[in-house]
Symmetry: C2
């Protein structure tokens, strides 16, 4: 239509400034008038450009089955982008071993990818790798938890404060007047701990809102599982020293460890709220020991993490610096319909 070759049109579309202003504006006008949109299919078929993304995730050990979930989403994304010249290298580290994170991220930096997805569970070591990335202008996306004041392309995860706030609402809704709630924090690596503390903070803050109209007592308990292994002793000790507890809020996916205790010691009637749809938790949700699980579509998080990077590399629009996951409320009655689709 402009009387020029496809090559020239291509040049103005991709803003390679080797075109005379005259033809440039002429082509631009026609592009706008005809509402041209590139055919992504043809584009990727013709293009030699390949994008390599790295996913740096905690390995899903017995101790951390949760991380199998985001991985599923990553794999879905891989299947989707592989026809479009996209690939993903997977790197795994041990959530209980910062050295393993450092080792793997050093590996990764040696052969720099075009973008990287990872949860900054080890803040210091994460900062180190981020410096490398920013020096080389490699975009990175945070998943699960975030690091303040960093120029990540996006953070994909839950609004931790608000999820705690919601947990408090759920518990309060079932509470009578003058009962005791216990908040349990099971210690984890620093970056995650920070995340869990936000959940706790949100939980506590609920009781300052006008929606809350009952008198409650709130206790809290911090148990370091990296040392002791299982929480039994700590709980025994707590229950001996203190009176009745009506509800327990556990700030992490390790709620099944508390559930096991409650069930074994005839305390299953205590309201129990925790996080994440891992198998261990599903069992206790179905038998009524756990009353509510708060979930966050971890599969979708993994999927969106990769897709966000891939779209950015292909100069497509991405959602922006924060992509909050939903705060799904899961009960024995609706669990069968998650995840979806």
């Amino acid at each position: 239509m402009a009387g020029v070759s496809p090559g020239t049109v291509d040049r103005v579309i991709h803003q390679r400034n080797e075109v005379s202003p005259a033809t440039r504006t002429r082509i631009l006008k026609i592009l706008k008038k005809t509402g041209y949109t590139p055919n992504l299919i043809a584009k990727s078929l013709a293009s030699k450009k390949k994008y390599r993304i790295a996913a740096l995730l905690p390995s899903a050990s017995n101790d951390n089955p949760y991380w199998a979930l985001p991985l599923k989403g990553v794999e879905k994304a891989i299947a989707e982008i592989s026809d479009f010249n996209g690939s993903v290298d997977q790197y795994f580290f041990d959530l209980n071993n910062e050295a393993s994170f450092i080792r793997v991220s050093d590996d990764l930096i040696k052969d720099p990818p075009d973008g990287i997805l990872f949860p900054p569970v080890f803040p210091k070591s994460s900062l180190k790798i981020i410096q490398h990335l920013e020096a080389k202008q490699i975009p990175y996306v945070f998943i699960d938890s975030s690091l303040d004041d960093r120029n990540s392309l996006s953070y994909i995860g839950q609004d931790a404060m608000q999820s705690g706030f919601l947990a408090a609402k759920l518990i309060c809704y079932g509470l009578r007047d003058r009962e005791t709630i216990l908040v349990i924090n099971l210690a984890r690596p620093e970056g995650i701990m920070h995340h869990l503390q936000k959940r706790q903070k949100g939980f506590i803050s609920y009781f300052n809102t006008c929606r809350y109209d009952k008198k409650v007592r709130i206790d809290s308990l911090e148990i370091d599982l990296t040392q002791a292994g299982e929480p039994e002793l700590h709980l025994d000790e707590y229950f001996i020293r203190n009176g009745e507890v009506r509800a327990i809020f556990v700030t992490s996916s390790k709620v099944h460890k508390i559930a096991r205790y409650l069930k074994a010691y005839g305390k299953a009637q205590i309201l129990l709220v925790g996080y994440d749809l891992i198998e261990e938790n599903k069992v206790y949700l179905n038998d009524g020991t756990i009353d509510f699980l708060i979930s966050q579509q971890p599969e979708t998080q993994g999927y969106l993490g990769i897709m966000t990077l891939f779209r950015h590399l292909n100069r497509q629009n991405i959602p922006g610096p924060v992509q909050y996951s939903p705060i799904d409320i899961i009960t024995a009655e609706n669990i069968n319909y998650y995840p979806y689709p």
Copy 2:
């Protein structure tokens, strides 16, 4: 590798039997050995085959704002399949006017698409169009509600019974002993009504399970809004004749009409549970009049409806005859994170 032209390879891949058995097996062997998978990108770029899907949906009038939601998902699917030679024709009818459905579906049949998505809200008229479709072997997918004993390619929507069951759990959880629950059904077209009755049935059935440990009285009220317009008078009458009500379950997205009444008449402290994230409901959820909304990712339903048809037409695997949507529990505390993404 087989010393034949690409045309011949194409013939064996697509099982057009114009190939000698000898070369056929030779090519097949190489295909298997090299692990050939077709490049879908190239395939759709080269293919002249275009698939036309029809979406036959209720128009999203002021009376039925809900239907704007599945439409969003349909539009997302359109954007996605348009590069792959897929298109969607949209047809709209009036939910309060079966004649409009008949008219539009007659139109549609005159120019038969390759597949069709619609909610069978008018069972009789739906059966009629289905007969045409089955005669012509045109696949169809149900969205929102279903029709028993029909050979739809898939049903995409909620498990209505179970969503009512969940609603009962939520209400019971906040109830004291010996209180009254009112179930309100706001009459709709037959096919939808059938759906709402399933919700009611699921709700009632909860009180026969072992999880339920309180004494309650359950009332029900059926109000035909197609006649009266607004529910005010019916509710006045009910409240005059009956005692205290502690909780109300409305089986549809019209819960905002009940919320407006409760708020206006100083009854906002009554627990109120209903369906769907339409704007009218969000207002009352945020101000506390509505306590829980049950949602079902209608955008995803519309999206999956189109994608299911498109994948089927392209001979890709599809999920099967029933794709249940999640039964999302929405409160004032988590509403901001839906829909996602």
